[in-house]
Amino acid sequence: MSAATIALLGQPNSGKSTLFNALTGLRQHVGNWPGKTVEKKEGTFTHGSDTYSVADLPGSYSMSANSDEEVITRDFIASGKADVVCILADSSQLERSLFMLADYAGLSAPCFLVLNMEDVAKEQGKTIDPQAIEKKIGIPVMMFSATDTKAYDKFYATLERALRNKSQIDVSALEKEYEKIGGYSEIKEQLVDDTISGYTPMWLTVKVLENDKVVSAKLKNTLPDDKMQEIENAAKSSDGAIATGECKFAWIDGILDGAVNETKTAAKLGKLDRIYTHKFWGKPAVVLTVILGLIASFIPAVPIMGVGMGVSALGGLLKETMIAAGSPDLLTGIICDVIIQSLFYIINMLGFVFGVTLVFGLLEEVGVMARISYVFDNTMGKLGLQGKSVMPFLVSFGCTMGGAAGARVIDNWGQKVLTIALAWAVPCGAAWSIVPMLSTVFFGAGAPLVIIAILLVMILHMWVTAKIFSRGLVKTEDKYGMVMELPPYHKPKWGALFRYVLGRTKDTFFRVTKVVLIVCAIFWLLSFTTGSVEDTILYKVGVAIEPVTKFFGLTWPLFLAFIASMVGKEGAIGVISALYTGGSIYAAVGGGAVAANIGEILTANVTQPEALAFIFAITFNLPCIVALAATYQEIHSVKWTTRIALYYIATSLILAFAAYHIGLLIF
C-alpha cells in the first residue's frame, strides 16, 4: 500500500520524464491505458519509510480535449486517483509554460508547482522568486533543477507540504479575468459545485466557452434540458477559446509581475541552431548527427555484444563436451542450439538497444531531437509522421532493431507504430552485407543498378506502406502540422538517464526472450535432423510447395533461405550453401560457414531472374526475429506486431514475383 499517489503533469520539454525517471529509477512500469493507444507510465519510490506511487501523465500543451492523451490526463486527475498533482513548468520559459497551471486551475485535486530548469533560467540571467508566486496562487511553489542532487530533498518536503495542506490554486484573480468574457456568468449560474465531480463550475464554464465537446456531452447527460439550453445559448454568443486564452495569459502576467527579474533575452539563435535551421545545411547536419549517434551507440554496445560472443563460444564448447559425453542429440540440440543460441541473439540485441536508447535518449533530453523534428517536419509530414521519425529510419540502415528502439522518442503511439512499420522497409546492415555480394555474383557490372533499384523500391514501399497503415494509426488530429517549441539546450541528468536506460533494457530482455526462444525453437525443430538435410521438415515442406514458390521465382533452396532470413538475414547465403553442400541449416542461420566456392554453387544452380527475385524477397522480408521482438517491446501490441510482420512477408513475396517476371523479360 502506498502512502500517496502523485501525478506528474507538464508540457513537453518541461522535464517531466526526467523527473519521473529520477524519482522512480528502475521501479517503473510501461504499459497502455486500458482500451487506448496511449502509453501509461507508472512507478514507485520510497522516501523515509513511505512508498509513493507516481503516474507520469501523458501530456500535451493543455487540459483541453484535443487528443486522447489530454482526455486521459484530465479524467485521471478528476477521478481523484491522484492524491496530489505535481505541475511542472520550465523556468527558462516561464510565461508560456505556466499555461498548463492556468488551464489546470479549477480542477479539484490538490497540487503544487515545480519550476524546473532552474539552472537554464539562471544562465539566461533570470531570477525568480518562488515565494512571491506562492503567495499569489496559494499552492506550494519550488525551484528545481533535475541535475542538482540536493533539489530532491526540497522536492520531497514540498510534496509533503502539499499533501498535508491539500493545497488548491487560488483562482480568484483568474476568475475576475474570466468574468469579463460575455456569457461566462450566464453559463456558470447553471452549474453547482458537484455538477460533475472533480471539476469546479469555473473550470467547466471555461471549457464550454472553449467549445470542448467532451465537457459539453458530460453536462448534457447531467443537467436538465432547460439549463443545458441556457448554456448553449450563452456559449453561442461568446468569442470562446481565444478570449479564455487571453484571460489565462493575463493571469499569468499578473502572477509573474514582481516575481521575475530578467535581463531581456534577445530572440537569437545559437551557433548550433544556426546550422540546424539553415535552409541548405540543416538536413545534412541532422543526418550527420544521427549517423554519429548511431556510431556512438556502438561504444556502450560493443562490450555487451562481446559477452554475447562469449556465451556463443561457451555454447560451442558445451556442445562438444556433451557430444563427447554421449548425451542424446535432442538434449544437446535444445540446450546448445536453442537456448544458448537464443541467448546469443538476445544479448547482442540488448547491447544495441542499450546503446541506441542511451544515445538517442540523450539527444532527446538535451534538446537536439526538437531540432531534428523542425528540419524534417515537412518531409515526414507527407507520410503522416513527425519530423523525429527520420531518426529511426536512418538508424534502420544500420539495424532495424535499433530503429525500433529509437522510435520511443516519438510521443504519439500511432505515429510510433507507423514509424516502425516504415523503418522495416529500410534495408538493414545485414541486407547490405549480402545484397551487394549476390548482385555482383549474378549481375557483375550491373550490380549498382540492382542497388539503385532496391533504394527506389524502398522509397516506394515506404510511401505505399504509409498510405495503407496510416488509416488505422494516425488520427486526423495528429495530422496537424508542427506547432512546437524549440527548447533551450540543457545539460543531461546522467544518473536518471542511465537508470532509465537500464530499466528499459531490463524490460526488453524479459519481453524479448519469450519471442526469440519460441521462434528459435520452432525453427530448430523444423530443421532438426540426425542425418542429412533431406530428413528435415523444412526440406520436405520446401520441396512439396516448390510449385507454388516457383511462382514467386523461388526454388526450394531459395525459399528455405528466404524463410531462414526471417531469423537473421546474414544467414541467408549460409543456408543456401548448407543446402547445396549438405551442412546444417540451423547452424548456417546463426552465421555458420559458407562454402568457399559459393559463387560457383550459386551461378550453377540459380538463374538470373531467380536471383533477382531472391534479392528482393530477402531485402524486403521482415528484418529478423530480434527486430520483430523489439517492435513488440516498443509498441506493446501483439495485433499490430503481427499485422506488420504478415504484411512484410506478403509484400516481399509480391516484390519477388515482380522482380522475377521483370527478370524473365530482361534476361
Binding site: 508560456r96 488551464d103 472553449e210 481565444i242 508542427m482 512546437m484
Partner: protein, 75 residues
C-alpha cells in the same frame, strides 16, 4: 497579413487567430494569443516559421501560419 508573410527579423503583434476549436486550443496553449508580441527569427520556404514569443522559440508549420493574422510593428 498572415504570419507566413512576415520577413525574417521583423517584429509583429498577433491580431487574430482563426480556425476550429482544436487549432485555437493548440495555438493559445503554446502562447500565441491576440495582442502578443512576436519576432520572426527564421522564415525559409518549406520549413516551419521560427518565431520568438513569451520567452520561447516556437516553430509553426506553414499551413498553420495561415490561421494566424499579424500586424507588423516598426521597431
Amino acid at each position: 497579413m498572415k504570419l507566413g508573410e512576415l520577413k525574417e527579423n521583423t517584429e509583429a503583434v498577433v491580431s487574430g487567430i482563426s480556425g476550429d476549436q482544436r487549432f485555437i486550443g493548440r495555438i493559445t496553449s503554446i502562447g500565441l494569443t491576440p495582442g502578443c508580441r512576436i519576432s520572426v527569427v527564421k522564415n525559409d520556404k518549406n520549413r516551419p516559421v521560427l518565431l520568438y514569443s513569451r520567452d520561447t522559440m516556437i516553430a509553426v508549420n506553414r499551413r498553420e501560419c495561415e490561421g494566424i493574422e499579424v500586424t507588423e510593428v516598426r521597431a
